[in-house]
């Protein structure tokens, strides 16, 4: 069986790749993808902990399911807002979202 450390390492790498992408990508959609990466790394954590460490319950799986559903809802509304912005600016680069600052 694959040891738990490897899977946790993958999820940690995913998490930080997501954070890195969130901070550096210029397209709003890429930023959204990075956030999905972060959320999914947490989901992997839940599944792994449940499977490897606490196999007599299902709380981790359930949390992962709920988290996926919620992440989908959030992405839906985020993309709706992006479409609205695209209609006005014809561009969804993060750099363009700068009418209000400081």
């Amino acid at each position: 069986m694959i040891q738990i450390e490897y899977i946790l390492l993958i999820s940690a790498v995913m998490m930080f790749a997501g954070i890195f992408g969130f901070l550096t990508r210029r397209s709003t959609l890429a930023v959204l993808l990075s956030i999905e990466l972060m959320l999914n790394s947490a989901d992997i954590n839940f599944a792994v902990f449940n499977r490897m460490l606490y196999p007599d319950g299902h709380e981790g799986y359930f949390f992962a399911l709920f988290a996926i559903a919620i992440a989908a809802a959030e992405s839906a509304i985020a993309i709706a807002i992006m479409i609205n912005i695209y209609r006005m600016l014809k561009n969804i680069s993060v750099d363009k979202l700068q009418k209000m600052k400081w």
Binding site: F22, I35, E59, I85, M100
Partner: protein, 498 residues
């Protein structure tokens, strides 16, 4: 399954009934006639001819009934904590009070928004506004009464996803969309951090029930990482300083009523939840020192940085955003030490802050509605043309700054008392110094309204009855809450510490 346990969550059930009625009434009662009116731009037809002006009354009336039913814990001081669904839902009498405070906030916001929602561009979607507001409130209810991390997380998201839709409510105004984008991206980012933190805590303890976690949690690097991620996730929601970057932009771009809602109700519920969860989950002696240190620095930075940034703001909504950040620092001061006195002070502070801040936002909103102006220089000479509004605004600002006869002084006093008794005199001193700084920038607005002259001041106008009702409620709070000490004592009956 024992269905009688639903009776333990009567507040949620009653709010759900309100939501369903409002939602269905919007679907079926406001039919074609409404849409036609909206397309005709409402110019030819007067507002009353266009049907659903009354749609604003229904949600407000239902919310008032709902608030009155659930206003206070029925059993008085004899109440005991109840739970449902095996501990997923936990309810203490204190939560009833916090929910009532939030209800009052929602009612005031709805009263403020009535006139705005009747404008031609909003009339077609005014039902959405009420549904979304009530759904966020429902999310906050779940979050407050949660006893399990799934419940907590769902409540948190239910409170923030519809909030995004509210922020981006002005579909054809670019600022609104930009504010919505900034809010949703950072809200998602913070939920991801929070989720990762929860997963680490789950990995350490193997359970997600708050009570069981508290029994099993040991201090090790993994659980400390979980604590840090949890605090940062919640810090985004309360907009504490290292996590506050979305606040000013979102507050500026959102419709003014939504900004008021965001700055008071959303923030207040998150602060209370942070206190209860951190007390329940990380309440042990070993963790107490850790998160107290964290909050010690967060509070200092929050209050100071927000005050310094507030001074240089020219847009009043941005200004109120930084003021709200610094007020959040004071609110979190109640968490220090996790004492019962701190909880009383925190809830009382929320109540007082709600009245003062919503009062100020009501004035900003009504002025913006009638003149379209929101800059600080536009308020020059407001006293000459609209003396009553200028006076009410002054009272609210004095209360926010904490000048003695008003409620704000007492709430700050209690929160400092709690911080001092919990053993943080240095923190209280720094907060006190910052109160003086905050007085300076609140007085900048007062000076603009009363002393500065303006060649083209905002023209005199009469505000609508909804806003007036909202202002009356807020003024009653500002003037009475501090003097009527029964309120503080009553809240004190139900508070509990670690």
């Amino acid at each position: 399954m024992d269905y009688s346990q639903f009776l333990n969550m009567q507040e949620e059930i009653s709010l759900l009934a309100v939501i369903l009625i409002v939602f269905l009434a919007d679907l079926f009662l406001c039919g074609k006639e409404e849409r036609i009116c909206a397309m005709g731009n409402g110019t030819a037809l007067s507002a009353t001819a266009c049907g659903c002006g009354r749609m604003n009354v229904l949600p407000i009336a239902l919310m008032v009934v709902h608030t009155l039913i659930n206003l206070l814990p029925w059993c008085g001081s004899a109440c005991t904590p109840v739970e449902a669904f095996g501990g997923m839902y936990q309810h203490t009498p204190m939560m009833t009070i916090v929910k009532s405070v939030l209800n009052v906030g929602v009612i005031v916001v709805m009263l403020m928004s009535a006139n705005w929602l009747n404008r031609p561009e909003n009339r077609i979607k005014q039902g959405e506004f009420h549904s979304l507001v009530l759904f966020t409130l429902f999310g906050m209810y779940l979050m407050i009464s949660s006893g399990h991390f799934i419940m907590f997380f769902i409540g948190l998201e239910l409170a923030s996803i519809p909030m995004t839709a509210l922020i981006a409510y002005d579909k054809y105004r670019y600022e609104s969309a930009e504010a919505g984008a900034k809010f949703i991206l950072l809200a998602l980012f913070s939920s991801a951090l929070l989720l990762y933190g929860i997963s680490l805590i789950y990995g350490v303890t193997g359970t997600l029930y708050f009570d069981q976690i508290a029994d099993k949690l040991q201090v090790n690097l993994l659980s400390i990482a979980g604590l840090v991620l949890f605090i940062s996730g919640m810090g985004f929601k309360i907009s504490l300083v290292p996590f506050h970057l979305w606040t000013a932009d979102t507050y500026e771009g959102a419709p003014t009523v939504v900004t008021g809602y965001l700055s008071v109700v959303s923030k207040g519920s998150a602060a209370f939840v942070l206190m209860t969860v951190i007390m329940k989950v990380f309440g042990s002696e070993a963790f107490l020192g850790l998160w107290s240190t964290a909050f010690f620095w967060i509070i200092i930075v929050t209050i100071t940085v927000a005050n310094l940034f507030a001074i240089r703001q020219k847009n009043l909504k941005r200004f109120m955003a930084y003021s709200a950040i610094s007020q959040a620092g004071y609110v979190v001061l109640g968490i220090m030490g996790g004492t019962a006195q701190g909880m009383t002070a925190l809830v009382f502070y929320l109540l007082v802050y709600l009245t003062a801040n919503l009062g100020a936002f009501a004035v900003l909103h009504v002025v913006e509605q009638h003149s379209g102006k929101i800059g600080m220089d536009d308020y020059n000479g407001l006293y000459k043309t609209n003396p009553k509004l200028a006076f009410l605004m002054t009272l609210c600002l004095f209360s926010l700054a904490g000048i003695p006869p008003f409620a704000g002084f007492f709430s700050k006093f209690f929160i400092f008392m709690a911080g001092f008794n919990a053993g943080y005199p240095v923190l209280v001193f720094i907060a006190l110094v910052n109160t003086v700084i905050s007085l300076y920038y609140y007085l900048l607005i007062v000076k603009a309204m009363y002393i500065k002259t303006n060649d083209e001041p905002i023209a005199p106008f009469r505000s609508d009855c909804g806003t007036r009702a909202a202002l009356v409620i807020c003024m009653a709070g500002v003037l009475l809450l501090g003097i009527v000490s029964a309120v503080y004592n009553y809240i004190d009956l139900f508070s509990y510490g670690i």
